[in-house]
Symmetry: C2
Subunit: 338 residues, 2 copies
């Protein structure tokens, strides 16, 4: 059996996450039991939610156990199978974690899914046509419920979730305004993702300045907002909301290291009769087929052109993950293993 390099969570961060929280080990992959398959991982998915799982504290994501393989989504290829539904060569998406290989009990529901790579590259099943894409779909369709002509804003606009949100909202006839870090990301949002405007928050480092920029980019106010960041970004958006605005609260990456992240003016939620709802997409598996079908269609039609930032080799995963938390990625952050 092949040697399997794995990244474990070695200890929990105090404040900011660090490389020293992780540990690289090697082990032999065990021989397959009846019903199991051996998957060679091609890509690991790196996602902001993983930061929450590193803490012991209560979070929406279950806690990552210490000393075990760091959990996360993976795509790969079946290289050995003792399960009748899987054949060698099948491309599969699963939750194999930060390791090069995984042995999967393929009969357990939800463990593995075969995917078709004729029209959609394998890596996209970790991004636009995977969990991040469905996250955008759920927040937009089920919480924001946009109407044509409405203005929708999204923070972390060029990330895996934000870029899908933009394409989905444009497909519904909305004006879409992104918030992202740096001129290159903002150009990508408007030129390639079809956003109507994108605001560089680095040019607007306080709530007053950002809310002024939002006023300019959203002359009719904000009807729906998809929040990935929190903090002063959310405060600035709230100042520009219209009556009956809806806010899908997906992430608050600004507070992942435990910073206090107060909302300055919750009275606006009342004044503007806002609905704000937190969610986690894995609790809404019923929408996945419909969402993935639409997302796959948008990719196939060239209306959703996801960017990827790809780190090479299992050993690069921790550093790439820390970069993601600081917004150093451009689009979906992946680790390529082959």
């Amino acid at each position: 059996m092949p040697t399997n390099r794995q990244i474990l969570l070695d200890n929990r961060p105090e404040g900011e996450a660090r490389l020293s929280n992780f540990k690289l080990v090697s082990s032999e992959t065990p021989a397959l039991q009846e019903g199991e398959v051996l998957v060679r991982h091609h890509y690991l998915s790196l996602d902001p939610y993983m930061r929450g799982r590193m803490n012991d504290a209560k979070s929406y994501a279950a806690c990552q156990p210490l000393g075990e393989v760091f959990q996360g989504g993976t795509v790969g290829e079946v290289v050995e199978s003792r399960h009748p539904r899987y054949a060698v060569g099948d491309k599969v998406v699963g939750f194999g974690g930060w390791q090069e290989w995984s042995v999967v009990d393929a009969g357990k529901p939800g463990m593995l899914k075969k995917v078709d790579t004729t029209h959609v590259p394998l890596s996209y099943y970790l991004g636009a046509v995977g969990m991040p894409g469905v996250t955008a779909w759920y927040g937009l369709v089920k919480i924001i419920e946009p109407k044509p002509g409405e203005t929708i804003t999204v923070s972390a606009a060029t990330g895996a979730v934000g870029s899908a949100l933009g394409a989905l909202a444009k497909a519904r006839g909305c004006r879409v305004v992104g918030i992202a870090g740096g001129p290159e990301k903002c150009r990508y949002a408007t030129d390639e993702l079809g956003f109507d405007a994108c605001i560089d928050y680095r040019q607007h480092p306080d709530v007053k300045s950002l809310s002024r920029a939002l006023k300019e980019a959203c002359p009719d106010g904000i009807d729906g907002h998809f929040e990935n960041v929190g903090g002063y970004v959310l405060d600035a958006v709230l100042l520009r909301t219209n009556a009956f605005a809806r806010i899908a609260l997906c992430g608050m990456i600004a507070g992942y290291d435990g910073q206090p992240l107060p909302m300055a003016n919750p009275q606006l939620l009342l004044v503007n009769r806002i609905k704000l709802q937190g969610f986690i997409v894995s609790e809404h598996m019923e929408v996945w087929p419909e969402a993935l079908a639409e997302l796959g269609g948008l990719v196939a039609a060239g209306k959703l052109r996801p960017r990827e930032t790809v780190a090479q080799g299992i050993e690069s995963a921790p550093e790439a993950f820390l970069g993601l938390l600081k917004g150093r990625n451009f689009g979906k952050q992946l680790v390529k293993l082959i």
Copy 2:
């Protein structure tokens, strides 16, 4: 025609509202035109939302014009009529404002409603079987959507809205826990309103202490919350919410004088996948008939026994209103004019 004493808004408060913001004047009531009726007001309704209307700033309630009769709900009796649907002696609820008499264009939809005082005292149409009652109904039924066995909390629990909320939630098989100011109000909540428990926030003046008291009173956590107050009360409640809790945001009286009222830990909205929604009941007129029918039934059955604090005479309205903002009332605050 009778002399009509009226309270006008004379100037807008800076910070706290004061007696000097109001002005008492007298005028003759004009002669009736075709289609009008003359109503003698028996009671004026005093409600927390009125504080928001005193400001020039954007609020959920429209701004009260300066130099005009202070707007508000009224109940009274028709004493003269030039409209075929209204007869002398009819008891009516309307929006006559802080004055002793009003001349009403009775044909305009929504201006006047005849009410039956056989089983429900006239004043209740300004409280439990009026706007405050429907406010509780909307927040509970349409936003919180309680299930039997769930735990529901409400701040300002013994006020006109809170007491109705308690009865409505008990009728749905919930555990109901109030938050109110002082031992007398808390006793009334448990002994007469049927609350399962009531916490005296004056005994718990900070978020840590109040959240500990909530933990004790809500051993299974909080599934739904109806917010009238905001500030540290809401912060403490958030710490005790269960996954998928719903919060109906009805008022934030703690911030009515313009105090900053930040929410300490909005991450909890995400961690617990909470839905929080602000609303104003006058935008949901479609629910009024169903809500009023249930509220009237609860009163008739003795399951909702509203308290009233009654000030006497039009001249007492401003001071009674300022007392309401400080929680000096016990139950629905009224001004009796006859």
